[in-house]
Symmetry: C2
Subunit: 149 residues, 2 copies
């Protein structure tokens, strides 16, 4: 069995181009900007945020289309973080998040044994042909918000 990733050589831009081609996406300027931006971001970002930060080169409607497609293809990870809509991030590693219910502060959580959970969920399911992915989020109170009570 393979190792599950590809070794891309070259500059960041070329890496991202290769990622896109590998998934049968046209390698366009807009998508390269999106991926590049998300690759540098340190937390999941919402569509309006991405759009605003990148500037006028991209239209919001299209960012929705692009990020959703990239997430469906597994190039990006989507998390529903209970703060106004879907958030996306570049999955440097497989992980999840703890989110402060009060202020939205986010911290990464290392892997949870996700693949084995997926396998178990699939085995016990009655009507599913495959399980492709999962989403896991923890919610609580960060120390700052806990103090402010």
């Amino acid at each position: 069995m393979g190792h599950g990733y590809k070794y891309y050589k070259g500059s960041d831009r070329k890496v991202l181009q290769a990622v896109l081609r590998d998934k049968d996406f046209y390698s366009t300027e807009g998508r390269l900007q999106l991926l590049s931006f998300l690759k540098k971001a340190s937390a999941p970002v919402s569509v309006p945020e991405v759009t605003k930060q990148i500037g006028k080169n991209l239209v919001e409607a299209n960012v929705y289309r692009a990020l959703e497609a990239l997430a469906d293809a597994g190039v990006l990870a989507r998390s529903d973080i209970r703060r106004g809509g879907a958030h996306y991030e570049y999955p440097h590693s497989h992980h999840h998040h703890i989110v402060c219910s009060n202020c939205g502060h986010t911290e990464e959580v290392e892997d949870c044994g996700g693949k084995s959970m997926e396998r178990r969920a699939f085995r016990n399911s009655e009507s599913f042909a495959e399980v492709r992915t999962h989403a896991l989020e923890f919610f609580g109170l960060c120390r700052a918000c806990a103090h402010a009570r």
Copy 2:
């Protein structure tokens, strides 16, 4: 340590009234209808869906307020299920869902060792004072959609 639930005697309505009072909510007609509806539902439901189904007795703005408050108090469970906004359900038991990415078909998944995951996430976190809950969803393809390819 306790067993984590209360034994309520009496009719459904009285049970729900007790649940509400127990959490310091006023026991109002609107909330009783919401809880009663969700208790019978077989899958997580969105706010617009609940509102439409229950009828004119409730205003959407209020359903948002009520369900969010009840979820925060632990009376309901919220799942962000990648289908247009938050969904709520009456937690007959602690469980999660597998959702078909194609058609939205939903099936329940038994518990995942959630409490121990929460404890582990909390222990490894750097800036959190507590972890209260978690959300976990699996995504895949149901058999019907897999065949239709």
